[in-house]
């Protein structure tokens, strides 16, 4: 009944989003249409405003509505520590931990020859310029612990180390609060490899 026309278009647009299948897309579309017109206008305004006012921070390349972004502009943060992550959402995860008080650098991906992604497709040049600019004492490579993330970390460490900056890699191991019996074999053996002296 709505095979074309504005309703079908709305369903199609929702279905393009990640994690949204055709059924959910339909549900969202019909929900919005069942609500007062303001709901749709608010959503549309929020979408366009977010899109129009968001760009990459010129310092860390995270997505931001201000220049520089809130983290880069915060004088309480330690500019000597730089945490390199793959995606903006990784910054969010790190920030939630509240355990890191340095600055970030967002690569916007990881090295993957099979997808044609090399250093030029990432923000590697910006990272190197930033470090060459001075003031950074430690770079924490917080790329994902998979083949591509590890390759990216190894590659970056090779480029950064000669600049006389300490390079570290995020540890992998057991999730906090989980008991050993529920950890899978791989995580456990990784945690065993990365064990440390008690102090």
């Amino acid at each position: 009944m709505h095979s074309n026309g504005p309703v079908a278009r709305l369903v199609d647009e929702f279905a393009r989003l990640p994690g949204i299948g055709p059924k959910t897309a339909q549900r969202l579309a019909f929900y919005i249409l069942s609500q007062p017109p303001e709901t749709a206008r608010r959503l549309a305004a929020a979408l366009t405003e977010a899109r129009d006012n968001t760009r990459r921070c010129s310092v860390c390349l995270n997505l931001t509505d201000r220049e520089p972004c809130a983290v880069c502009a915060d004088p309480r943060r330690n500019p000597e520590m730089l945490c390199v992550v793959e995606q903006p959402r990784d910054v969010l995860a790190m920030e939630k931990s509240r355990g890191f008080r340095g600055l970030y650098h967002v690569l916007h991906g990881s090295i993957s020859p099979m997808n044609g992604i090399g250093p030029d497709e990432l923000t590697v040049r910006e990272l190197l310029q930033r470090i060459a600019g001075g003031g950074v004492k430690e770079v924490i490579l917080a790329t994902n612990p998979n083949v591509e993330g590890d390759a990216t970390a190894l590659y970056l460490s090779k480029l950064i180390q000669p600049l006389g900056v300490r390079v570290t890699r995020l540890a992998h191991g057991l999730p906090v609060g989980a008991s050993l019996e529920y950890a899978d074999e791989i995580t456990l053996s990784k945690a065993l490899e990365g064990r440390r002296e008690l102090y």
């Binding site: 993957s112 020859p113 998979n146 083949v147 090779k158 074999e185 791989i186 053996s189």
Partner: protein, 369 residues
């Protein structure tokens, strides 16, 4: 481990099947295309989480229905377990052990069955990829982390080959190549090491079983042929070192040929029977005995490691083995081992007592012992 009861619903051509298998040898007979192998597949599926026939698991759902279920009562080390495996058209398989949903895509680790199919008979004269796959499966059942190393190794290999093929001119090519090579060396040396450890454990068991099976005239042994020069010392540091230097010394060739030429993905296993290269100079019969002894060694090693026997699933290979070889298996069937053997006819002079069931058009009829 024993299956005490097996219930299938909507599995391949079985609508409903309920069966109390015998604790020893179960011979499943019936004409072709009646469902003998389907029954074996169901047992394999709930013990390994995989079908030994297909990678498209949903093929196993009976036509015209949208979900299958296999449930069973097992006995392991004297303890009974209830298992249920469900697979629906629109979701992934769900495994329950005593009512508790398992997080992983299988019930047991290590897997609890050893299967033996006609394709296995080509192991010795077939291509190296088949032998590597066999070896990898063996190692996986003794070392769960191996599957992870292998998976990552293959991923690194794919990326490295893509890099060599497409992106020779990319920025930082040689640094990127190094970062994949470092990982290739890391995972690759663990793989080679684990393979050698497993082969080391298996060598003497295999030799004894082969002698028993062939009434002891010849010896069987194997050599691991590696693209990496390996010394006599079996330690991971030495392998890492050799793999590293092998990659370094062939890096120019790799760039010219645009593919990764060194690592466990290029390795092979060579069998010798009575001192002769089994692939080239041994008869089909000798090759069969060798494969049979390999399967039997896997069962022995499994018992040595875990203190119980896995299930043995033999699909249509019994009649391919002559009476002497069947008799040679008597020792195996004397073990407290449950086996499921499909065959179009009941083998004559089978060395142990057994029970038969007949499968006709998706129905099971219990036979006489």
């Amino acid at each position: 481990m024993f299956f005490k009861r097996l219930v299938l619903s909507n599995f391949r051509n079985f609508r409903d099947l309920s069966w109390y298998p015998y604790r020893g040898v179960n011979i499943i007979t019936g004409n072709n295309a009646q469902g003998k192998t389907n029954l074996l597949e169901a047992i394999g599926f709930c013990t390994t989480g995989l079908s030994f026939r297909t990678s498209r698991e949903k093929e196993m759902i009976k036509d015209g229905t949208n979900s299958l279920q296999v449930s069973a009562l097992l006995e392991r080390n004297g303890v009974e377990d209830d298992i249920i495996v469900r697979l629906a058209e629109n979701s992934i398989a769900e495994f329950r052990l005593n009512g508790v949903k398992q997080k992983k895509n299988r019930l047991f680790l290590p897997v609890m069955s050893v299967s033996f199919t006609p394709a296995d008979l080509d192991l010795i004269r077939g291509n190296p990829a088949g032998r590597r796959r066999w070896l990898d499966t063996e190692v996986c059942s003794f070392e769960p982390a191996y599957a992870y190393h292998l998976h990552n190794y293959n991923r690194v290999l794919l990326q490295k080959n893509n890099l060599l093929k497409e992106k020779i001119k990319t920025t930082g090519f040689s640094e990127i190549l190094d970062s994949f090579n470092l990982q290739l060396i890391n995972y690759g040396s663990r793989i080679i090491y684990s393979r050698l450890v497993q082969l080391g454990k298996m060598a003497s068991v295999l030799k004894d079983l082969y002698r028993e099976l062939t009434r002891g005239k010849e010896d069987i042994y194997y050599k691991y042929l590696s693209s990496v020069p390996l010394g006599d010392k079996l330690n991971i540091e030495a392998i890492t070192f050799s793999l590293n230097s092998a990659i370094a010394s062939r890096s120019l060739e790799e760039k010219n040929r645009r593919q990764a030429l060194v690592g466990p993905h290029r390795d092979d296993l060579q069998f010798y029977i009575g001192g002769m290269d089994a692939r080239r100079y041994c008869s089909r019969g000798q090759q069969r005995s060798a494969v049979l002894s390999l399967k039997m060694s896997a069962i022995k090693l499994y018992h040595r490691e875990y203190g119980e026997y896995p299930l043995l699933l033999m699909d249509d290979v019994m009649l391919e083995l002559d009476e002497a070889r069947q008799a040679g298996m008597a020792g195996l069937f004397a073990l407290p081992l449950q086996s499921f053997i499909t065959s179009t006819a009941v083998p004559e002079n089978f060395p142990r007592d057994f029970k038969t069931v007949k499968i006709t058009n998706g129905q099971l009829i219990e036979g006489e012992r």
